[in-house]
């Protein structure tokens, strides 16, 4: 059971790290300096979540692996993040749509973990929940502003939602790891949270004057390490300096 909790904890860390890495790619490229600041703030929180989650995973699985062992020494196939989190940034609307989807999910899931999970995971989740709630506010605000801004921004925001929506189902998937953990009462399944997510996100999308997309396909595979082709370069870049200096101290 502890092993399953460790796996799940590492997956949550992977989501946070990979999304944080994507947001790092925005810095110096954002529409305003204020957004450089906002996106880096969010990235900083996410990297922080990844660090605590990885450290906890290393303790729980008994390997004693460090946060950096998780981030820098695993191969692409060993990352268990969802495909949503690795989606390339696209334009600002795609990034906001991705943030909207993830942050609403993360608020719900971290809150659920804080209530029911393994005590150490619960403590980490409780803190993360308040931070991702701020990310949610940021995403909500921009979804509405872009939706109600200009004709162009509304078109782009709708396109962003359409682009991102097929990747949402994976966030709520239940697999063997999740089922074992839930049975043991160690951590909740995300599956039952989907309805609340639809409700909350639907309210924001409606306020933005946009339509909730109804995708005809859904992405899967990330949790099993089957990633998109864009993921290889992301990991290569992440690990490049680390791998260039074997035995390095940072």
């Amino acid at each position: 059971m502890t092993e399953a909790v460790a796996l799940l904890t590492a997956r949550l860390g992977d989501d946070a790290l990979v999304l944080g890495q994507r947001l790092c790619q925005w810095i110096t490229r954002a529409p305003t300096i204020e957004e450089d600041l906002a996106l880096s703030n969010i990235a900083l929180d996410l990297i922080g979540h990844a660090r605590t989650l990885f450290t906890l995973a290393g303790e729980l699985d008994g390997t004693g692996r460090s946060e950096d062992d998780f981030a820098y020494t695993r191969s692409d196939r060993e990352f268990g993040n969802t495909l949503l989190c690795e989606l390339p940034n696209g334009d600002f609307a795609v990034t906001i749509a991705r943030q909207l989807a993830y942050s609403h999910y993360a608020v719900l899931y971290y809150e659920a973990c804080a209530d029911t999970a393994h005590p150490e995971l619960a403590a980490v989740a409780a803190r993360a929940a308040t931070e991702v709630d701020y990310h949610r506010r940021h995403a909500d605000g921009w979804t509405v502003r872009l939706g109600l801004g200009t004709a162009q921004s509304a078109r782009r925001m709708q396109a962003g939602l359409d682009h991102v929506w097929p990747y949402i189902a994976e966030l709520f998937d239940e697999d063997e790891v999740v089922r074992r953990m839930e049975a043991a009462g160690a951590a909740p399944s995300p599956a039952p949270l989907r309805a609340r997510w639809e409700e909350r996100v639907g309210e924001v999308v409606e306020r933005a004057g946009l339509a909730v997309p109804a995708p005809r396909w859904r992405a899967r595979g990330g949790r099993q390490g089957l990633h998109s082709e864009a993921f290889g370069p992301l990991v290569a870049e992440l690990q490049s300096v680390y791998r260039q200096f074997p035995g390095g101290i940072w």
């Binding site: 204020e34 506010r137 940021h138 605000g141 502003r145």
Partner: protein
């Protein structure tokens, strides 16, 4: 625009309104003016004020007020509005004989 008193006005491409930011840095202190942000709406102004002025420390509360809503006493920095105190030295304790020998320490 910053500090409400500046003369910068929006109007250039996409320039957003200016908001003055007030921060209560800790218990026992009033909200203090710390600077300004530009934002489209109050929520954005609060978020930007949070990002810009609360990266360090452990502040308790933020206010944002539209800069245009600040009603100033007069255009000049020193104006007759405030001239009273300077010419009324008897408002200050130093004007009077100290209560203890040896000077102006707190009585």
């Amino acid at each position: 625009m910053s500090e409400a008193e500046g003369r910068g006005v929006s109007g250039a491409e996409g320039a957003l309104a200016s908001w003055e930011v007030f921060l209560r840095p800790r218990r026992g202190l009033a909200h203090l003016h710390v600077g300004s942000v530009r934002a489209a709406d109050p929520d954005m102004a609060l978020e930007r004020a949070r990002d810009l002025y609360t990266r360090r420390g452990d502040p308790l509360s933020l206010w944002v007020v539209r800069s245009a809503a600040v009603y100033a006493s007069s255009p000049a920095e020193r104006d007759p509005f405030f001239s009273g105190a300077r010419h009324k030295p008897y408002r200050y304790p130093e004007h009077f004989a100290p209560l203890t020998e040896g000077g102006d320490r707190h009585d």
